[in-house]
C-alpha cells in the first residue's frame, strides 16, 4: 500500500504489522500526552518534586538524552571534519538519534518549567552568566543544526525526492554539510559543557561544585567529553537494537568497529579525567568546604545514594566498558560490544543522575536530613513519552527514508528489483 514511499532496494514489513507497531507506541505516547496536559493545566504539583528536589526525573532525563544524543555531533565531527569517511554509513542514523534526543530534551524542558507560557524569557531577558541560558541557547541552536542535518534525509524519500527543488535542496545541503557539522560541533561543545556547568558552578552545593578553568568548572569539560564518549556508544547501542528488531544487518562491522574503537578511546580518556576530577573533588574541593567524601554518600543500608553508586559509575560503567572497547578482540565480539556500549550508556545516565539528583538529596545544612524523591506517574509518563516518540520517528524514518546506505547491499532482495 505504501510501497511507493519505501526506499528502493530494501524490504519492509507489511503495512498492517507496521500499523500495529505504531499503534502500540502511539498509545504510550498518548498516555504521556495525557500526563503532559495534566501538568500544563494543573501545574507542577502533579509531580513529586519538592522544594528540596527542584530538579528531578525530567532534568535527569534531559541531561541523559543530551549526553546520549552527543553521538550526532561527535560522529558528525569525525565524519565531516576529521574525515573518518567510513562513518558516512552510520552518520544518518546518528543524526536521527540525535534529532530524537534533542527534540525530546526540548519537550521535557518545556514541561519542566513552572511558567511555560513565558519560558521565552530565557531568550528575551537572558542572563548570559547563567549556565542554563547557555544551555537553552545552544540547545535550541543545535537542535536547528540537527534539523538541518535531518532535512536532507527526509527529502531523500523516494517520493519527495522526485520534486526537483527538494532534490536539489537535499543535494546542496549535503554539499555543505561539513559547515553545518562544524557549527554543530561548536554549539554542542558549549551546551554539553554548560550542562556540566549547571551543577559545577553551584558553590552552595558541595556535591556538585567543581573548581575549573576561567568561568568553566571541570564538569563543563567532563560533560562534553563524556557525551563524545557515550554518545557514539548510544548510537551503536540503538543501531544494534534496530538490527535486532528488524532482524537485519544494517551497518557493516568495520564501521561499527571504528566507532566503537574511537568511543573506547574517548571513554578511557574521559575516565582518566573523571577519576582525577573525583579524587581532586574528594581530596581538595570538598574538604575545603568542610565535607568529606563520605558525607555525600548515605550511610543507610539499601540507600539509593550509597557509595555503591560511585563505584558503579566509575568502575562498572566507566573503566570496564572502556577496557572492553579498547581491546580489539573483545569489542569484535558482538555480545561483548553490546555489553560494553550498554554499560557506557548506563554510566553516562548514572553520572547525570548523580549530578542532578544526589546533589539535591545530600543535605548541606547539618541539621537537614537526606531528602528522598520518587517520581509520580505523570513524571514517568512524560519521560516515557519521548521514548515512544523516538521509536515512532525512528520506525517511520527507517521505513521510508534511506537511513542505512549499506542496507541494500547487506540485505539483497531475492530476485531484486
Amino acid at each position: 500500500m505504501d510501497s511507493a514511499l519505501i526506499p528502493n532496494g530494501v524490504k519492509r514489513c507489511s503495512i498492517g504489522q507496521f500499523a500495529v507497531w505504531i499503534a502500540i507506541n502511539g498509545a504510550i505516547l498518548l498516555w504521556g500526552v495525557w500526563a503532559l496536559l495534566l501538568i500544563y493545566f494543573k501545574g507542577l504539583n502533579q509531580t513529586n518534586m519538592t522544594n528540596a528536589y527542584g530538579f528531578a526525573l525530567w532534568i535527569w532525563a534531559d541531561l541523559a538524552v543530551i549526553a546520549l544524543g552527543g553521538g550526532a555531533f561527535f560522529t558528525g565531527l569525525l565524519r565531516y571534519i576529521i574525515g573518518k569517511d567510513e562513518l558516512k554509513h552510520i552518520i544518518n542514523y546518528a543524526v536521527l538519534i540525535g534529532f530524537v534526543c534533542y527534540s525530546s530534551a526540548l519537550l521535557i524542558l518545556a514541561i519542566d518549567v513552572g511558567q511555560p507560557l513565558r519560558a521565552w524569557f530565557i531568550f528575551w531577558h537572558a542572563n548570559v552568566h547563567s549556565m542554563l541560558t547557555e544551555v537553552a541557547f545552544c540547545l535550541t541552536c543545535y537542535f536547528g543544526v540537527l534539523t538541518i542535518e535531518y532535512i536532507p534525509l527526509i527529502l531523500e524519500n523516494r517520493q519527495l525526492n522526485r520534486v526537483p527543488f527538494f532534490h536539489h535542496l537535499a543535494h546542496n545541503m549535503h554539499h555543505i554539510m561539513a559547515l553545518f557539522a562544524a557549527t554543530g560541533a561548536f554549539l554542542s561543545f558549549f551546551h554539553q559543557g554548560s550542562l556540566g556547568g549547571v551543577t559545577g558552578v553551584l558553590y552552595g552545593r558541595p556535591f556538585g561544585f567543581r573548581t575549573g578553568l576561567l568561568v568553566w568548572p571541570w564538569t563543563f569539560f567532563l560533560y562534553t567529553w563524556s557525551a563524545a564518549a557515550c554518545g557514539p556508544c548510544f548510537t551503536i547501542f540503538i543501531t544494534r537494537i534496530t538490527e535486532m528488531a528488524t532482524g537485519k544487518k544494517l551497518v557493516k562491522d568495520n564501521v561499527i568497529d571504528l566507532l566503537a574503537k574511537i568511543a573506547g578511546w574517548m571513554l578511557a580518556t574521559y575516565m582518566v579525567a573523571k577519576i582525577i576530577d573525583t579524587w581532586y573533588w574528594a581530596a581538595v574541593t570538598a574538604p575545603s568546604m568542610g565535607f568529606t567524601l563520605m558525607d555525600f554518600y548515605s550511610n543507610n543500608p539499601g540507600s539509593a545514594y550509597g557509595i555503591w553508586i560511585l563505584i558503579a559509575e566509575i568502575l562498572v560503567c566507566g573503566v570496564l566498558p572502556a577496557v572492553l572497547l579498547l581491546m580489539p578482540s573483545l569489542r569484535r565480539n558482538p555480545s561483548v560490544l553490546f555489553a560494553a556500549v550498554t554499560l557506557a550508556v548506563l554510566g553516562a545516565c548514572l553520572n547525570r543522575w548523580v549530578m542532578v539528583l544526589q546533589m539535591q538529596a545530600a543535605p548541606v545544612l547539618s541539621f537537614e536530613p537526606w531528602f528522598t524523591y520518587f517520581p509520580s506517574w505523570q513524571e514517568v509518563a512524560t519521560t516515557i513519552l519521548p521514548v515512544a516518540y523516538g521509536v515512532i520517528l525512528i520506525s517511520l524514518s527507517y521505513r521510508y527514508l534511506p537511513i542505512f546506505p549499506q542496507e541494500p547491499e547487506l540485505n539483497p532482495i531475492e530476485g531484486g528489483k
Partner: protein
C-alpha cells in the same frame, strides 16, 4: 547623576538563638505580611511555602543530655563574592538580582518562569516553588497586603527582607524631606513580631546600628564575625550571608558549619 541615597547599605540580621524560643511568631508575621498562602496540608515542609522557617536543632546526645535549639531561617541574602550569591548568577532570566545599595537579594515573581535552578543553587532551601495556585480560604483574601504582590503558581519565591517596608519607610522619609532612614524605621515583619526580641535588623555597614555592633563583620574576611559567639550558616561555602546567629552553645555554632554532620536518622 546617581540618585542613590548616600552610602551603600548592607541590610542584615542578628538572630540571637539564646533568645529565640521557637514560638513561631516570626513565621506567622512573615506569612501575614507577605501574603504567603496556606494550604490544607502543610505538613510536608518541602512542599510548604515559608519565607521564614524555624528549624529545631538537636545536639544528638541521649536523654537526658539532649539539648535543642531553634533556628529561624529567613533568606540569608548571601553576598557571595561581590554580589554573586549562589542563586543570583544562575537565574537564566535575570529574575533574581543582588543589589549593591542594600545588599538584598531580590526575586521578581513576574519575571521568574519557574526553572527552579536557583532552588538547586541555594543550600539553605530558602527558595520555594509555588507548586499550587495561591488560594485563600473563603473570605481570607480580604487580609491580603497590597504592598506585596501575590505570587502566581509556577514560580519561585523567597524572603525579600520585607523590601516593601523599606519602600514605605522611604516614602515617609521623603514626605519629611529626608533621604536617610533612622535605625528602626525599616524593620522586617519578623523582627517586629518576635516577642523575645531575638531578631535584630539593620545596616551592617553602619557601625551605629545594633546589628553591626553585635555582628562585627570583618570586611577582610568576607564579613566573618569577630564576635566569638556569632556564626553564619555554611560560612565555609563562601556564600557570605547576611544573617548572623548568636549562640553561647558551642554545639549550636558547630551545627551551622558544614564540618559537623548529623548522624543520619534511620
Amino acid at each position: 547623576m546617581d540618585q542613590h541615597n548616600g552610602s551603600n547599605k548592607k541590610f542584615g540580621m542578628v538572630i540571637d538563638l539564646d533568645k529565640c524560643t521557637g514560638c513561631g511568631a516570626c513565621m506567622v508575621a512573615c506569612m501575614a505580611e507577605n501574603n504567603v498562602p496556606v494550604r490544607e496540608d502543610e505538613t510536608n515542609k518541602m512542599l510548604s511555602l515559608h519565607w521564614m522557617r524555624v528549624y529545631r536543632l538537636t545536639n544528638g546526645k541521649p536523654f537526658p543530655q539532649s539539648e535543642e535549639c531553634f533556628l529561624p531561617r529567613p533568606c540569608q541574602h548571601c553576598e557571595g563574592h561581590h554580589g554573586h550569591s549562589p542563586c543570583v548568577s544562575v537565574c537564566p532570566a535575570t529574575a533574581t538580582d543582588y543589589d549593591m545599595h542594600t545588599g538584598i537579594v531580590s526575586q521578581i515573581p513576574t519575571r521568574c518562569f519557574g526553572c527552579r535552578y536557583c532552588m538547586a543553587a541555594c543550600p539553605y532551601h530558602v527558595r520555594q516553588f509555588n507548586w499550587w495556585d495561591p488560594v485563600w480560604p473563603d473570605g481570607m483574601e480580604r487580609m491580603l497586603n497590597p504592598n506585596v504582590s501575590v505570587r502566581m503558581r509556577g514560580i519561585v519565591e523567597k524572603c525579600s527582607f520585607c523590601y516593601h517596608r523599606y519602600q514605605i519607610a522611604k516614602d515617609k522619609a521623603y514626605a519629611e524631606g529626608r533621604r536617610e532612614l533612622q535605625e528602626g524605621e525599616y524593620q522586617t515583619a519578623c523582627t517586629q513580631a518576635c516577642p523575645a526580641g531575638a531578631i535584630l535588623f539593620g545596616d551592617l555597614n553602619n557601625p551605629k546600628h545594633a546589628v553591626a555592633r553585635i555582628a562585627q563583620p570583618d570586611p577582610a574576611r568576607e564579613g566573618k564575625s569577630r564576635n566569638p559567639n556569632a556564626f553564619r550558616l555554611l560560612e565555609r561555602l563562601g556564600t557570605n550571608p547576611k544573617i548572623y546567629y548568636l549562640s553561647t552553645r558551642e554545639w549550636v555554632r558547630k551545627a551551622g558549619d558544614t564540618e559537623v554532620r548529623k548522624p543520619e536518622k534511620a
